[in-house]
Amino acid sequence: MSRVSSVLASSKTDVSYARRVAASVTDPEMPMLTLEDLGVLRDVEVDGDIVIVTITPTYSGCPAMATMRDDLVHRLRDAGFAEVEVRVSLHPAWSSDWITPRGREALAEHGISAPGAAPRHDGPIVLSLLPIRRTLTCPRCGSSDIELTSEFGPTACKALYRCTSCLEPFEHVKEI
């Protein structure tokens, strides 16, 4: 137990400090995004001597969850919080709509196309036998002459595109 934890525990400013630290931790696969910008950071609270951080997976099999947890624990410990617990929240399920405007800008600056509005799954889900049509622009040259290479990319959350003007491939964060 750290000598500072008992002092930290009761103060509201420490909750906001803990939140600030947790919010600055970045995604291991897309380091231009913080966990907050990605929308996976759901809650930060201080309970007695423990900082409790709640995160949610983007996809069921997201292999980055353990790294996110470890990064959160390290950063908060380094910031003086002795005990850190990271919890998983499965509900509500993550949506690409939760990526913040700042996160979308950061993606675009790094050559990754940000997602459009996520599909709703309230009623029957249409089986789409034609490629999904997205109105995208190439994050490098800005051209709208793009073609889908694959709905599945280097990480679970991305599709692969190619710009037919500048001929460069780029990644698009999928709507989910």
Binding site: V88, L90, H91, I176
Partner: protein, 315 residues
Amino acid sequence: MDMNHTPDPSHLPDDDSVYEGLLVGDDSQWAFGTDFEDPLAGVDTTVPDGVDTHQLAVYCLMLADDALVMSHRLSEWCSNAPDLEEDIALANIALDLLGQARLLLARAAAADPSVVPALPDGSPVPPEDALAFFRDDREFRNVRLVEADNGDFAMTIARLLLFSTWRLALFQRLAASRDHVLSAVAVKGVKEMTYHRDYAGRWFLTLARGTDESRRRLVAGLEAIWPLHGELFTTHAAELVTAESGVGVDPATVADEVDVRLEQVFSMSGVDRPDVAPLAGVRGKTGRCGLHTEALSRLLAEMQVVARAHPTGSW
């Protein structure tokens, strides 16, 4: 106030060698971590009132094993698919299903710990891994559709179309489960499997309308797996009991909807529904009862061999 923000020295590498830091502290510097945490940490795993915990666990094993075995088959395409994009696509689908399997196995273990195989004292293997790697074929509850060998790419696509159409329909209903974990897994799974079904449907159409050879292979692949289609809609006692208590879904209730979706793909593709007899079970018992084809034993032998050789190993 003592706001000491100096990093804990135990996390810093030794000055003598840049590699020293790799040998101290915890394992988290390795890519994606090497330890295992409870995937349901912090999730409320209380079983709802009036639900038989053992039947709930068995039902979770069924849904988990479908995903786990299908995931393993799909991952066998890694570095073997027709091109890099399909390699990546199939691996992504396998990863989504593996994630679903992990959550469902953990849910089964939390609902009824007696379903988890016993391991030697001191074994660090978590319950979901014990279920995946230390059960024998007779204890697996997956439908036989997912265990058949991959065949060629066309057969894999035909199977993925059947599987994802069926599972998506099941999960859409499972989203209303009274069990919070099953409901959350289902809501998330619906989003993922919408992409899986679209992928399989588009490739089905592409292969059917492609060359004579691609069409021949697709039709042959569909006929080869069709004998395992009927089993998807046969209700097992655990499915019935959990459906009646509001936590599970009776697969017979999705038969019509799945039929309509498949017909949509078949008619656009100009492919007839195969006219082949179902594969018989053993005295009427099939995958959900733990009676499988030989293919599952070989799959499990490969999937489980390393874990079984080191039941107390830590990775």
